[in-house]
Amino acid sequence: MSNFGILSILPILGLLFIIWRLLRLTKSTSNRINWAQRSNKWILCIYVGVLLLAVVVYEAIQADGEKVYTQKEYATFIDENNVFQQAFEKNEESKFDPKFLIEEWKQQIEGDTLEVILNGSNVRMNIEWTNSKEQLVEAKMYKTYSYMGGINMEKEIPLPTLEVKDNQIILTAIPQKERTYYRFTNELTFFSTVNNLDSWEQRRVIGHTYIYLKVPKHINVIDKDGLQFY
């Protein structure tokens, strides 16, 4: 740690030197060109004007960006996600929040096996066994809240594609993608150790994609990768 401490100072010392030179330079140039006080005042006024203008313009154009939620809202997001997760694990479909529902299918299958194929997709799956004698399988896809760094990822993260074919359910992850976001904050990451700062951890809600299947008892579900929940 102490070695690291010394090393971390070197760039600061370098910076100190650069700014010191800079101050000396501005002083000597201002001496040489007989910089009048009036031009100084003008520069200051223009600069402050530009800054204030920037604030106003930002207020005007920021409608393009995403909404940033408050800490309270994040807390409720996390709560709702947890409620859903618990209900999902306990197969309590009645408690599922319908707003998380994205898609649903019904599929008549032939034979008594249902094969689930996951192609690189990371989903959580649960099966409710029904007493029905029919060959009808119901599938529902849910997605809980996902926010990261203030972005609503529900829109941004592409869903895996779900294909129901004969007696196969194929979940295919979409090809790898990269997204870059710029995020501005009034706060200094400098002091992020202080707990009410906008730290990364506190503004992250990670949701999941859930597949809920309703399968008649007489049908075997085959999953090569092993299913998360039964």
Partner: protein, 292 residues
């Protein structure tokens, strides 16, 4: 009323005693010449009086206050010297503009008129003035403050002949219009002695003379005649200065009260500046003795 009262004032720097023992009182509204050789302690004394530096021992009172770090003294006195400096961000015109805020009796008209008379450039920066122009500007600044105690330390350094004459004239006229205590230090006594009322002569950190100019002028006389006669006359008397003119003639400077009434020698007056020079001389001879 007494403006300055120094009692056994001493100032020590690390190695040298700048002021050994200064005792004098300055009455108000007089122009006093602070005379002394190089290194006599004139500048040190003025800086103490202006409150810039601290005394080491003794007592110093300006307007009945210890001047060091004293706001009242600072507001009513000014020291004009060649190290006077102003921010580089302010032009001369800017300086003259802010000055009245500090000096309540600032004479804007005088400052502007003198400024125009000496043809200074209002857009110039103080640090980039030539030595003479800087001295002129400092002088204008010092006069225009009209401080009750105005001190000049070698004000004419760098000024040319014409400006010096103008400076002394301006000082006198402004003094007549607004009498105040003025202390001018210089080693050119001759060129300003007509202005002075009193002379404060210091040497090696001590006050040697503090008299009116007329008294100083009558302080000594020069006896000139044949060597034998002059030596006989001045035997046992305090000889301020002696010089062998040629193989037979010699002159000797002695105190006026010592003058014997005798013929055979001519008596000449001694100018005030010469008196000061002789009184502060450590060497009995002169520079000529070096080349014997």
């Amino acid at each position: 009323m007494t403006v300055i009262d120094c009692q056994n004032l001493k100032k020590r720097y690390k190695r040298l005693n700048a002021l050994e023992d200064i005792t004098f009182q300055l009455e108000e509204k007089k122009i006093t010449g602070l005379i002394g050789r190089n290194g006599a302690g004139k500048t040190t004394l003025l800086k103490i009086l202006a409150g810039f530096i601290r005394k080491s021992a003794g007592d110093v009172q300006v307007f009945s206050n210890n001047p060091f770090n004293n706001l009242r003294v600072s507001a009513n006195s000014i020291l004009v010297d060649d190290q006077m400096s102003f921010p580089d961000s302010l032009t001369l015109a800017d300086i003259l503009e802010v000055a009245p805020e500090f000096y309540k009796r600032w004479d804007t008209e005088l400052a502007n008129n003198l400024f125009k008379y000496f043809r200074l450039n209002p857009k110039q920066l103080h640090s980039r003035l030539s030595k003479g122009n800087r001295a002129t500007f400092n002088m204008i600044f010092g006069l225009a403050t009209r401080c009750e105690l105005t001190m000049f330390d070698e004000p004419t350094n760098g000024m040319d002949e014409a400006v010096r004459t103008d400076f002394y004239r301006a000082l006198l006229k402004d003094y007549i219009a607004h009498p105040r205590s003025i202390l001018i230090s210089s080693h050119h006594l001759a060129e300003m002695e007509h202005l002075l009322e009193d002379i404060l002569l210091i040497h090696k950190g001590k006050v040697v003379l503090h008299q009116s100019l007329e008294e100083v002028k009558e302080y000594a006389v020069k006896l000139q005649g044949t060597t034998d006669l002059v030596e006989k006359l001045t035997d046992g008397k305090e000889i301020l200065h002696a010089k062998q003119l040629d193989s037979q003639r010699k002159y000797v400077v002695i105190r006026k009260e010592d003058v014997p009434a005798l013929e055979g020698v001519t008596i000449h007056p001694v100018a005030a500046s010469e008196v000061c020079m002789y009184v502060t001389s450590d060497r009995k001879g002169g520079i000529d003795d070096v080349f014997m």
